[in-house]
């Protein structure tokens, strides 16, 4: 029986030995999830802000759908991307299936709705507060987007971290579109699934602890940066 003890010991040994296979897996996990977060944020932040500012017929429906997509099951996202990128699918000629790029696409699909929906909500609240001021400056809606996003930046940092958390913790989608190929598309979460299926539970849990530590480290860094900036700006 694996105990919490030997899982901790395994995790510690993995980290202290700087196991080269582990380093590769960690690096790939970070590369994929950070790329996915960056791409998703690039689209979702302006999209969410625009949704907060514009009024159009069917806006309510769009918001509901976006909120619902926050709960998109990773396996469904993975299967969708798999069918799109498969050679027999519409984007098959690019040969992206079973590559890290496919994993980025799947994760973008998962976290874009999260970032967009939460941005919409934050910006809408902020806009309600600043509306008169912005109106008196004569700013068009389009020009208000960067201003509002900048003013909401501390809240949006948390939104982006939520997206990163979802991306790095997810396994169902990257397993399907990446294929868990050793040295090519094996990331932390798929490695954990593989070790679990081998019955190597201490190693699986050890890898889980390493992943958790990594995510904590990134969140800690974001917190420190945010706090420093906040204090400096008074």
């Amino acid at each position: 029986m694996p105990t919490a003890d030997n899982a901790f010991a395994t995790a510690l040994r993995l980290v202290l030995n700087l196991d080269p296979a582990l380093r590769e897996i960690v690096a790939l996990s970070l590369q994929i999830s950070l790329s996915a977060v960056a791409l998703a944020a690039l689209v979702a932040l302006p999209l969410g802000a625009a949704l907060a500012l514009w009024r159009f017929p069917g806006r309510g429906a769009v918001i509901v759908v976006l909120n619902a997509l926050m709960g998109l099951p990773p396996v469904v996202a993975g299967l969708t991307v798999y069918l799109l990128l498969s050679r027999a699918g519409p984007l098959g000629q690019f040969g992206l299936l079973f590559t890290p790029s496919a994993m980025v696409v799947a994760q973008v699909l998962l976290i874009l709705p999260i970032i967009a929906a939460l941005t919409r909500q934050q910006v809408e609240e902020l806009h309600a507060e600043y509306r008169e001021q912005l109106q008196s400056l004569g700013l068009s809606r389009l020009r208000r987007i960067p201003t509002l996003l900048w003013d909401a930046r501390f809240g949006l940092m948390t939104v982006i971290l939520a997206g990163f958390g979802r991306a790095s913790a997810e396994v169902g989608a990257v397993m399907i579109v990446g294929g868990n190929i050793d040295g090519v598309t094996r990331v932390m979460t798929t490695a954990i699934v593989l070790e679990t299926s081998k019955g190597n539970l201490p190693l699986a849990l050890g890898l889980g602890l390493v992943l958790l530590a990594l995510v904590t480290l990134i969140n800690g860094a974001a917190y420190v940066v945010g706090e420093t900036a906040r204090r400096r700006l008074g």
Binding site: L39, S86, R87, A88, L194
Partner: protein, 270 residues
């Protein structure tokens, strides 16, 4: 849609930088089964092939049913699975041009050490299965249309049992997860020997029945038909196929051991 174009371009760039690190002279994607991957066979034999040919082999380990589907969609260059009937059908349907025996291992029946159904005393595997059904002892089935699942269903059929009822649990999982679950609920389970020997979380499970010829598990390599998916790397895949059947490949398979035990027995007919 300039925005969509931009996103695609950005994705392409990111993909390039990501894939560049993993690029080699040439690689093929091999769709194969969890039993071969989980036992560590590929880690043992692929380096020898890569050294001899410079071709990297990327393994996607799934159930046999899913492996066929991946190949049908044109997403794998090569196929190594264990469902002879399914493989022959695959050739007959025109998806593959050639099928060859590569190696065998065997299935074993494991279960709780105190053996409530008494299958240790069974004369053959059909009797063992019949005893499990009669005792209504918990049985964990893969239930995932894998080669192992298909073989298990054939054994129930020859035992004249319709596996049904609360004692028969279809898990819909790979071999490893099924063993984990069986260990947790003290159930009988049919496993391939390779995964069983390499499996660490046995708890109360023990090997109870083995050795019947009906438990013979044949692996076959398939050469995909270039007419179906011209974009696949058929020349590289053919070298892999030929290497598996060659003396060198067969020797590599025979040399693979886990815990001092040979798990796969090469049987290519040359």
């Amino acid at each position: 849609m300039p925005k969509a174009g931009l996103i695609l371009a950005a994705l392409g760039l990111m993909g390039l930088s990501l894939n560049a690190t993993a690029q080699s002279v040439g690689h093929i994607t091999l769709a194969s089964t969890t039993s071969t991957e989980n036992s560590g066979l590929f880690d043992a034999i692929i380096p020898a092939f890569t050294e001899a040919t410079g071709i990297e082999v990327r393994v996607v380990a799934v159930g046999t049913g899913q492996a066929f589907e991946i190949a049908r969609r044109g997403d794998a260059d090569a196929l190594l699975v264990h469902d002879t009937r399914g493989e022959e059908q695959f050739v007959a349907d025109g998806w593959a041009s050639e099928r060859a025996d590569v190696m065998v291992n065997d299935f074993v029946v494991v279960g709780p050490d105190d053996d409530p159904a008494g299958i240790r005393e069974a004369a053959d595997v059909t009797e063992a299965f019949a005893r499990i059904a009669e005792a209504q002892a918990s049985f964990a089935s893969r239930g995932d249309d894998s080669g192992t699942h298909r073989a298990e269903l054939r054994l129930w059929e020859s035992a004249g049992v319709e596996p049904d009822g609360a004692w028969y649990r279809e898990l819909g999982s790979g071999m490893g997860p099924t063993l984990n679950t069986a260990a947790a609920m003290d159930a009988y389970v049919m496993a391939d020997r390779a995964t069983w020997v390499a499996f660490d979380n046995r708890q109360n499970l023990a090997l109870l029945f083995e050795g019947d010829e009906a438990l013979f598990n044949q692996y076959g390599s398939l050469l995909l038909d270039p007419g179906r998916h011209p974009h696949l790397k058929h020349d590289l895949a053919e070298r892999w196929h030929r290497w598996l059947l060659s003396e060198e490949g067969q020797r590599a398979i025979a040399g693979f051991e886990v815990k001092g035990q040979q798990l796969f027995f090469p049987n290519a007919s040359r």
